[in-house]
Amino acid sequence: MQAIGLIPLNRQLAESSVIMDYALMLIMPILYLICYLGINLSQTFGLPFLDACNSVCRLSNNLFMHLGAFLYVTIIVLSLYRRKNFFVEFETRLKEIDAVIKKCSKIAELEKIRVQAVKHSVSYHFTWIFVCCTFTFALYYDTKELYITFGEYAFIPFMVSSFPYLAGSIIQGEFIYHVSVISNRFEQINKLFEKINQEARLRNAPLTVFDIESEGKKQQKKGTATTKETLANEEKLANEMKRQKSKPAQNEDDENEFNSSEEEEDDIFDYNDGLMSENPNNTSEANLPDLFQLHDKILSLSVITNAEFGPQCVPYMAACFVVSIFGIFLETKVNFIVSGKSRLLDYVTYLYVIWSFTTMVVAYIVLRLCCNANNHSKKSAMIVHEIMQKKPAFMLSNDLFYNKMKSFTLQFLHWEGYFQFNGIGLFALDYTFIFSTVSAATSYLIVLLQFDMTSILRSEGLMTDIKLNSEASMNP
């Protein structure tokens, strides 16, 4: 990815030569611009300038090329704008969050649950294989066809046809990765909340009320004390992390191609030390203030992430939309009627279909993950409400916990109004977006399919004897 010039080099290192990093980012865009301008100015090496390319083919190819240029240029400009310090900041914040999560899960004795939780479902791997296959197929098809047409110069037209879409998808992949990290943290927090919830159910016995009075106070003290222990704990945790690194990781390797080595550590959470004894007095509600802060921190982390990647979503979604509509249009109005007559025309229509499919898959994954992250964050508030309703023992001691939880849920209400994954506010990145785009696409398609292509096709000599057939298909 760094080679394609979408991310500054050494993104994890705060200090490194700035010029070197950003210069590397410029290589690919400059190459692309040379190819793009070269094709459009010298009028060679481009599909539209071949004799075999008829007017439909030329139009659609031009559209594809210019749309790609629009996509690529906006994305590159936005990623140049996005500085390295985003990555640095993301990582540091993530580390902070992870440290607190580890501390909390230690208190909550969650390690046993954790062991099972790391495994990813079959659908997760299936998705990755599927996406990889789609991309390989798309790239393979494009290069093959271009190689047949242009021979060894195929690289130049490839740069303007498929490459921008590939680059856009990679950026979206990065977005997907970051969102999945965030979503993962939300899940972990939810587990911790759930643990408190379960304990609340167990400890609801009225007999123990007297004990709890003192216990509640103890815990309250502990709650304030834990925050002070943070610094000391961090050191311990760092040691622990090192120890774990040396251990062979027996977890499922859930890493995708974008994951860094740091990410691998984060996902390993099983403390198999066995040193921690099952102490019934050790309670996890001491975690609550930390968890609330964590939730807040993760949400602000997602605000940063969204600010970085949201703007890049907009051109990508727009390109996906246009390519899909024209893909369907060309497929039904041109390819369905005159397929096999002209190889170049077929190539262009298939290119549309393939890339519309690929971009749609990526867009869908983005939407799904954003929706998931949103749901996870919502779930925390739900769990907290549940805890509040059960009136567990530790709440009886004083109002503090009640007020704390109330404050948290209220804050979440504010967050809900303030933030949602979105593309610069134009649309929310969740399933409603799919609905709105599909309905828009339908209305556009209805209008577009009214276009009368037959006369054009006939004038290009693609359609002679099947006039009657086409008439039948035109007037349903």
């Binding site: 704390k404 109330k406 209220l410 804050q411 504010h414 967050w415 506010g425 009368d452 035109m474």
Partner: protein, 520 residues
């Protein structure tokens, strides 16, 4: 200075250049002298008459313009492209309507506008007492940039159109200059709105920053406590001076530390009125500074529930007041904004449609001649859409910033982790939740980015439909022409459009509907 006890620089001070221009072209009727002296917008009878005169003058001139250039449109009527003609007819007056709305609203609201800025000033004072100053100087920079951009766009569109597309051999073609007036006046009016909105956004940001600073300060305090528990260190605690010496100490050595400290209280030194209030200022500054000094030896306000209650309460009240101001402002500008959005939507669609018509070699209405040149069209569209999008974006951002306050408030609660503070925070948070501020155009639609998304979708679909109809009409016309060569009666219909307009439109409608079948 007529008002001796001004704690803060009034916002209107930044608006002076803008006001002079608006006064001159007749956007606002208020008194110029009052603004210069008292920094307040006051009603002015003379200004009202001047503005009414200007308004009537513009309307008359614009009608003259339409009359003069409308004479060229006879060929358009004859050419039978009904759709283009009707769109042109509808949109002839939209610019004028927009301008008249702006000016009439300006006239009607002349008293309330002054009150609005007075309220903003009061808010500033209250914020100042809470030790957060809002820096207004960036607003005047923004206003200047916006005015400069307006001039660049207007002049480039006007000059390029005049040179390229208007027949400037005739003297009356100078009337074309008038086409710039409605958009210019409208832009001036919207710059007022945008700048005031930006000012509100800054107020919200200042409130948020104060809250965040409270949190950061408390965290520092906690760290300090934590350290102090481990070992007592002298470094973190600055030497204690009495309050007068503290100021000196700060001046001499503690500048950096103090600026890194509590609130980012920007020194008020840049204000012009510090000359007149030299006795007043330093005392205030000192008060703020002593507070900072005390805070430097980490003593968080959040650890004191009573103090924090007052502070948070005040901040929330200020937030409420800013929200109310925002609502009032939205009310004042609701009709102009609605007019602008309608104008933006219609003009954007029409311009693109006419651009398409021009590329197809069809005749377009003479008032939309900018569409004949793609570059001028691009500049024009950028100007129009930039105006609309900036307003929408700013409203959206302001509304988001106001929502952010609740989150920052809760951060205070979480970091203090104290029962009393939690109770205060919860109470205030509910209050804040009910103060949702959303900008809307007369309540028809909210001014946020989602509306923009919907509008852009609308423009595209209308454009596609318009182009479709245009294509169909062209094909119908061709069909008529080929038909008339065979049939004399059909030729009569084609030629006698002026007499038989209704029947010909009917005829073209029928052919339009039949084209998909008949032409395949």
């Amino acid at each position: 200075m007529s008002q001796p006890r001004q704690l803060v620089q009034p916002l209107l001070q930044q608006f002076q250049e803008l006001f002079v221009i608006s006064k001159l072209v007749g956007v606002l009727p208020q008194d110029l002298e009052q603004l210069r002296q008292k920094h307040a917008l006051e009603k002015s009878r003379n200004g009202m008459f001047y503005m009414l005169g200007v308004l009537v003058f513009y309307v008359l001139l614009y009608n003259l313009l339409i009359f003069w250039f409308g004479a060229e449109d006879t060929s358009l009527k004859a050419s039978q492209s009904t759709l283009t003609f009707v769109i042109g007819l509808f949109l002839t007056y939209i610019g004028l309507i927009m301008m008249v709305t702006d000016q009439l609203t300006g006239l009607l609201n002349q008293g309330q506008l002054g009150e609005l800025y007075e309220r903003i000033r009061q808010v500033d004072e209250r914020l100042y007492l809470e030790q957060c100053l809002v820096d207004n100087s960036s607003i005047s920079k923004r206003i200047r940039v916006m005015i400069a951009l307006t001039f660049i766009f207007e002049i480039s569109i006007l000059v390029s159109t005049y040179i390229k597309l208007v027949d400037y051999t005739q003297v009356l073609s100078l009337l074309w200059i008038l086409t710039a007036i409605p958009t210019f006046i409208n832009t001036m009016d919207k710059i007022w709105f945008a700048a005031s909105l930006y000012a509100l956004k800054e107020r919200f940001e200042a409130i948020n920053a104060t809250l965040e600073d409270l949190v950061a300060e408390h965290e520092r305090y906690r760290d300090w406590l934590y350290k102090a528990e481990n070992k007592f260190s002298d470094e973190t605690e600055p030497p204690q001076y009495d309050s007068n010496l503290e100021y000196l100490y700060k001046e001499l050595s503690g500048m950096d530390r103090a600026s890194a400290g509590k609130n980012k209280v920007a020194p008020i030194a840049h204000s012009l009125n510090s000359f007149g209030e030299s006795v007043q200022e330093p005392r205030k500054l000192q008060r703020a500074n002593t507070n900072r000094m005390i805070n430097l030896a980490p003593e968080s306000e959040l650890s004191n529930a009573a103090k924090v209650e007052v502070k948070l309460n005040n901040l929330c009240q200020v937030h409420d007041e800013v929200c109310e101001i925002g609502k009032a402002m939205n009310g004042l500008w609701s009709y102009p904004i609605l007019a602008l959005m309608a104008y933006g939507f219609l003009i954007f669609t029409a311009q693109l449609y006419f651009l398409y018509c021009a590329t197809q070699g069809q005749i377009i209405p003479s008032l939309f001649r900018t569409a004949k040149n793609p570059v001028i069209t691009a500049i024009f569209l950028m100007y129009t859409s930039g105006k609309c999008i900036y307003l929408i974006y700013l409203s959206w951002k302001t509304s988001l910033t106001s929502k952010r306050t609740g989150i920052s408030l809760h951060k205070c609660g979480v970091v203090a982790d104290d029962n009393a503070v939690y109770e205060i925070v919860n109470h205030l948070s509910l209050k804040l939740l009910n103060h949702a501020m959303d900008f809307s155009a007369c309540g028809f639609f909210t001014l946020d980015m989602e509306t923009l998304y919907g509008v852009s979708g609308g423009i595209t679909s209308y454009l596609i439909i318009l182009i479709q109809f245009n294509l169909a009409a062209q094909q119908a016309k061709e069909a008529i022409q080929s038909f008339s060569s065979f049939n004399e009666t059909a030729g009569l219909v084609g030629a006698a459009t002026e007499i038989d307009n209704v029947s010909s439109t009917l005829y073209s409608l029928v052919t339009t509907m039949m084209t998909p079948i008949s032409l395949t």
